[in-house]
């Protein structure tokens, strides 16, 4: 008893000074570990009471089991990119205090003890402290410091998990071949054209190719999931962004050695230097900002705010401006057109000079400036997410094209599709040194389009202002004027670059580990250079190809990736025909780490990924024949292993104090004034343990008249805000019955806006501030502003 008291008294000392007063104020308990619990709750006659649960040896071994080989295979199926013993998802069931982290454990606590008393009863620090003071403190206070466990707690972890079944019973193993693929995604040329540097995402490497001889010279290891490469103007230095490492690798081209690794922002993607090479600009895709780094000491000078998901950069011909594409649309109001941003940075002052908005556009990726014209071209999609997906002909669902940024900052849009033959997933663009030709890759069609830039600009100049606004962006016939050819290349072409003299162009074929060499005299592929990946195509690799191919869609209009870039989301909602047109908009959901989170669909009606991607997908989306059994199996295998990036809101030592407070709110059973919260209204009822989903459906009061139409006068609902707040008010006021929706998992939920089944909440906060008027989606109306902010901070850390 004394020992427990002594250790618990250390609580304040264990918390960082900055957090200490807040921790004490809020009286946040620490996890003390089973040995402290057993000091009182042993089997002796003086015991304070023994757990009714029998001793379960597996509970003690559960943490150590995460070190087994099988655990890494299970982790791969769970989207866990790190060691299982470091994963919050795995630790959620295999350990105690795994979610809060070591910051919130006392020295008496040992995570190696696995599932301990506090796994069910939560942190016992305050309970132990109060117990030591008994009888000076009332019994209620002692009991109030602990969560009473029940059998329902067991079910939170002891449910069926497909990943565990697959590995432990069906003996699934991640193929070793998988680790050997290269997956080239971007490339750059040396200034003299003798080398092509190819970023290989899968092998975490940069491959150096001699294009004249058509062979690989050597391979340089870089950080995790490299994305882009830039060459310094003098050709002596390479810069490679590492998306999962949050770093920039600096490589000396002469030695081929990585000379530095510079920390940048979250998920760096595009990288480019200014004309002098004195500064390098890195696009932090997850943080929506740009790291400006000076190249003498490689220190970060500043961060500039970009659009959402900054992706690629282009330097203007005069070197004065950098143009940035944004892969996700800016936050948009419910059922409003998407708007995406091209940010313009002044390279001298290193400030944002302009933000050019492209209406109805999303997935802005490749970007390039046109020498001699001041024009910048950017690849884009025009997704018709406000129009029912009831047909595909006539470019009904997704169109693909180019944004044309003129020197005065105006932006036009044109399509690269032609009727009945789309140009799906335009990934990257390169402009010839003479400014006459642009090459655009189509990852979904395995093609490269050859664009006559003069003809493109003539098309714009000949059109009226109204035609440029309404017709050209939506006309499938216009591409015939300026797309002079489509070149077949390898599987899933991504990056494209011209050689310095423009004689050749090189294309990174991501899913067959090769680069295509295009002769620009006839614009045809003259050579395909293998980067040395394995010849064998695993089922996962085959599934990845299926995922990225638009051959499954009528008119090759889109691939799975078109709406799920990087296995994630495009930030849009869709009106799917199955439940009626115009109604029931549904939010697009991430595919990262979802293998264990069935059922799928917002209605929760698809019990497995095979169902989710089965014939229903063909009937309501692609309209062609469903996947063959082989294709479907491969696709499911691929979907099962799409990893999720590390959570950047989560610190290595665990939750911050605000997040820890938020966790208490998330798990609370009573309101601030002590009124019990009904089980159905508690967060943990639907969002429990590892993935934070009980995998059930629940009605949380978010049904709108768009979901289950009622006979109401909608005459005043045509202005801003009509579909969010007011939509629900009207629905409730008419007494309509709420629908139940699938409780989504909350892992990395911060990266998946908008929220709710229909995307009516653009931010996490608005789930409750705008869409929880009757406390049906958890009781939140009593929360203070700080409590509410704490809750949001906690959710971001999941």
């Amino acid at each position: 008893m004394k020992r427990a008291w002594f250790l618990v008294s250390l609580q304040a000392a264990l918390i960082p000074p900055a957090d200490r007063s807040l921790a004490q104020e809020r009286r946040i308990p620490l996890f003390v570990g089973r040995n402290v619990c057993l000091e009182c709750h042993d089997a002796s006659e003086h015991s304070a009471g023994v757990c009714t649960l029998e001793e379960i040896p597996e509970h003690h071994r559960s943490y150590r089991s995460l070190a087994r080989t099988e655990a890494s295979h299970i982790a791969a199926l769970c989207g866990v990119a790190k060691s299982p013993q470091e994963s919050r998802v795995c630790l959620g069931c295999h350990a105690t205090a795994g979610e809060v982290g070591p910051r919130w454990t006392a020295p008496t606590f040992d995570i190696a003890h696995g599932v301990q008393c506090e796994a069910c009863h939560d942190a016992g620090g305050m309970h132990a402290e109060a117990s030591c003071a008994w009888p000076a403190v009332p019994r209620e206070e002692i009991l109030g410091g602990i969560v009473p466990g029940d059998r329902a707690t067991c079910k939170e972890c002891h449910g069926e998990k497909p990943s565990h079944t697959a590995v432990l019973k069906e003996l699934y193993r991640m193929p070793l071949t998988e680790a050997l693929y290269k997956t080239p995604v971007n490339l750059a040329c040396s200034p003299d054209g003798t080398r092509v540097y190819v970023v290989c995402q899968h092998s975490n490497s940069l491959v150096v190719v001699d294009p004249a001889k058509g062979r690989v010279l050597h391979e340089i290891g870089v950080g995790r999931q490299p994305q882009d490469v830039a060459v310094s103007p003098d050709g002596k230095t390479l810069y490679v962004t590492n998306r999962l490492s949050d770093t920039l690798s600096v490589i000396d081209t002469a030695s081929g050695a990585v000379t530095d690794s510079v920390g940048v922002g979250n998920e760096p993607h595009g990288v480019l230097t200014d004309a002098t090479g004195e500064h390098v600009f890195v696009l932090n895709t997850e943080r929506n900002d740009v790291s400006v780094i000076e190249t003498e000491r490689f220190s970060e000078l500043k961060r500039l705010a970009a659009g959402r998901g900054p992706w690629s950069l282009a330097l203007s011909e005069d070197g004065a401006s950098l143009y940035l594409s944004s892969v996700r649309p800016n936050s948009i109001a419910f059922l409003r057109p998407s708007v995406s941003e091209v940010s313009v940075i002044d390279t001298r002052s290193r400030t944002v000079r302009n933000r050019i908005l492209l209406r109805d556009a999303n997935m802005l990726q490749g970007i390039a400036s046109v020498p001699g014209s001041g024009v910048v071209l950017v690849t884009l999609m025009r997704t018709k997410h406000l129009v029912p997906i009831s047909r595909l002909a006539q470019g009904w669902t997704i169109t693909n094209g180019l944004g044309v940024i003129l020197p005065d900052g105006r932006a036009d849009q044109v399509l690269l599709d032609e009727p009945n033959n789309a140009f799906p997933d335009p990934d990257d663009i390169a402009v010839s040194p003479n400014g006459r030709v642009a090459l655009v890759t189509s990852g979904g069609a395995n093609q490269v389009a050859v664009v006559d830039i003069e003809a493109l600009l003539d098309t714009l100049h000949e059109a009226t202002a109204a035609e440029r606004q309404e017709v050209l962006p939506n006309h499938l016939g216009m591409s015939a004027r300026f797309v002079v050819k489509r070149i077949d290349v390898g599987t899933n072409p991504r990056g494209v670059v011209f050689s310095p003299q423009g004689r050749f162009a090189y294309v990174a074929n991501a899913l067959d580990d090769s680069i295509s060499v295009i002769d620009t005299e006839g614009y045809s592929e003259v050579r395909r250079i293998s980067l040395g990946g394995p010849d064998r195509v695993t089922a996962i690799r085959e599934g990845e190809r299926v995922f990225h191919s638009a051959d499954i869609t009528f008119g090759r209009q889109f691939s799975c990736r078109s709406c799920h870039p990087d296995g994630h989301i495009n930030g849009l909602t869709f009106d799917i025909e199955a439940d009626g047109i115009g109604m029931h908009p549904v939010d697009n959901r991430t595919l990262r780490g979802i293998y264990d989170t069935a059922p799928f669909k917002w209605e929760g009606t698809n019990p497995s990924l095979s169902h989710q991607c089965g014939p229903r997908l063909a009937v309501f989306f692609t309209r062609l024949a469903p996947y063959t059994p082989r294709q479907l199996n491969a696709l499911v295998q691929y979907l099962s292993v799409i990893p999720r990036p590390p959570n950047r809101h989560r610190q290595e030592r665990g939750l911050t104090i605000a997040q820890r407070r938020g966790k208490l709110i998330f798990e609370r059973r009573a309101t601030s004034n002590g009124k019990p919260i009904l089980r159905a209204r508690r967060c943990t009822t639907c969002h429990s343990r590892g993935y934070k989903t009980a995998r059930t459906s629940a009605s949380v009061g978010t049904t709108m008249w768009l979901d289950a139409p009622v006979d109401i006068d909608v005459g005043d609902l045509h202005e801003v805000g009509e579909f969010g707040y007011f939509g629900m008010v009207y629905y409730h006021d008419t007494g309509g019955a709420n629908k139940a929706f699938d409780a989504p998992h909350l892992v990395s939920i911060y990266g998946s806006p908008p929220y709710l089944h229909n995307g009516s909440a653009p931010t996490l906060e608005e789930i409750w501030t705008r869409c929880n008027l009757y406390d049906e989606h958890g009781v939140t109306s009593d929360l203070t502003r700080r409590q509410f902010n704490d809750l949001i901070e906690y959710l971001k850390a999941l």
Binding site: S390, R623, A625
Partner: protein, 466 residues
């Protein structure tokens, strides 16, 4: 409905020099029609027959595949190159029906016995519905209920079951052909080619013709080749036209025109050549020729018999399977939805005059597969929202024309062609006679903010709910 007959057929082999072949890479199957007939293959003249021509045989040889038939014609080659689908009559008084036979003459079986007089049949790719066990291959059959009726296209499985009508054009649907993207192409018998999905949804104009378009066929490089008939007779032949499948309304070109003669029944012979029937003048018979698809030059004879018309030649061998189709059509429903995003949009511009309502005129059809009675009937009206949108429930399988009305009820514009929806189809239109290459604007239009409403007969109930 289904009669499957497996019968070994005694083959009559004819040999002898008729017209020397010239570098034909493959065996051909075609229809021979007696010279004395008028050359119109549609009526399946008595004595017409399916033959296989083998150019590898010295001097060539003909094998008659249908010696047991009173007449047979209009064949199509299966995707695996092993079977032939054709329309035939065993007895002179039998109604024409669809048969299938192996290229080696074995495995003759009847595919359909109805629902009327079959005049053409082609293989289709697979179709899948939510009630299917798995995707299944189909055939499309062009049928007249009675001689003289406007024909319609039906689909069925290869065993003749699951018969479903998929075209409802009042003037008929002729000469079905399948495109590589899986859609069915047909002629309206007047001046246009249309496409329709193989579940009957999304009927859409494909190409326009100066005269009656006939016998379309998708050849290499996705170019659709068809005949612009010289006369009103659909089987008489004419000049050869090509359009790109991608921009079919804007890429029309004359591949081959012949001053006095006529060309008929084109098909692909590899990627760059076409195989056609040609006769130099009305007095001669159609023979089989090939020509270069791109240039239209070198009309080179392959086979021409002075006693027969040779038409509908197809190379024997495997070919690419067109894309399959997955369908949301529900046959147990009686309605579909027709919605329009902006009735003010015509061509590429918006008109100014206020459109108050849309009137829907229909032409009821017999659901038992009968011909289409002529004459419009009023199906009802629907209000047009202020943004130009409207959405309505309409009877399925019914040809419809739309008429826009102003606030006084005056007619503003009237649709000249017809469209239909299938049960449970949600057919979207961008505008009224909008540019067919225009894609929809990304707008959540007003008409879609409430469920589509049924058509109303009285004007009061069609006023906007807004």
């Amino acid at each position: 409905m289904t009669v499957a007959i497996a019968a070994a057929v005694g083959l009559g082999v004819l040999a002898g020099p008729i017209t020397p072949s010239v570098s034909v890479p493959a065996r051909l199957v075609f229809t021979q029609i007696p010279r004395d007939s008028d050359g119109d293959s549609i009526v399946l003249p008595t004595g017409s027959r399916i033959v296989i021509y083998d150019p590898s045989h010295e001097s060539g040889s003909l094998t008659v595949l249908t010696p047991a038939f009173a007449s047979a014609g209009r064949s199509d080659m299966s995707f695996d190159g092993r079977r032939i689908l054709f329309v035939g009559k065993k007895g002179a008084d039998d109604p024409p029906s669809v048969w299938e036979i192996g290229v080696d003459g074995t495995g003759l079986r009847q595919v359909t016995t109805g629902p009327g007089h079959c005049i053409a049949a082609v293989y289709l790719s697979t179709i899948y519905t939510m009630t299917s066990v798995k995707p299944e291959f189909q055939v499309a059959v062009c049928v007249r209920q009675e001689p003289g009726d406007a024909p319609a296209v039906y689909t069925c499985r290869l065993d003749g079951t699951a018969l479903r009508r998929i075209t409802f054009a009042p003037n008929g649907a002729f000469d079905p052909a399948v495109l590589s993207d899986g859609r069915l192409l047909f002629s309206d018998g007047a001046s246009s080619l249309f496409t329709v999905n193989t579940d009957g949804t999304d009927v859409f104009i494909f190409a326009e013709s100066e005269t009656v378009p006939a016998m379309p066929f998708e050849s290499g490089n996705r170019e659709v080749v068809f005949v612009e008939n010289r006369s009103a007779s659909r089987g008489g032949g004419g000049r050869l036209i090509g359009v790109s499948s991608m921009r079919s309304l804007h890429t029309r070109r004359v591949i081959k025109d012949v001053a006095d003669g006529a060309i008929a029944s084109p098909a692909a012979l590899g990627n760059d050549r076409l195989i056609v029937s040609y006769r130099s003048n009305d007095a001669s018979t159609f023979g089989i020729y090939w020509l270069d698809r791109k240039s239209g030059v070198a009309m080179t004879p392959i086979f021409d018999s002075p006693d027969w018309h040779e038409v509908f030649a197809r190379p024997i061998g495997p070919r690419s399977v067109p894309a399959g189709r997955s369908s949301s059509v529900k046959d147990d429903r009686s309605t579909g939805v027709l919605y329009c995003l902006d009735a003010y949009l015509t061509g590429t511009t918006r008109t100014d005059e206020r459109i108050a309502r849309v009137r829907v005129m229909g032409s009821p059809v017999r659901t038992d597969g009968g011909g289409v009675p002529r004459g419009d009937t009023l199906l009802g009206e629907i209000a047009v929202e202020s943004d130009g949108s409207f959405a309505m429930q309409v009877p399925a399988r019914t040809p419809m024309r739309l008429i826009t009305l102003n606030t006084r009820g005056d007619v503003l514009r009237e649709m000249r062609s017809w469209l239909w929806v299938m049960p449970n189809e949600n057919r979207g239109c961008i505008g009224c006679h909008e540019d067919r290459e225009l894609t929809p604007p990304n707008r959540f239009v007003r008409a879609l903010r409430i469920p589509p409403r049924p058509l109303a007969r009285d004007r009061g109930s069609t006023e906007s709910q807004r």
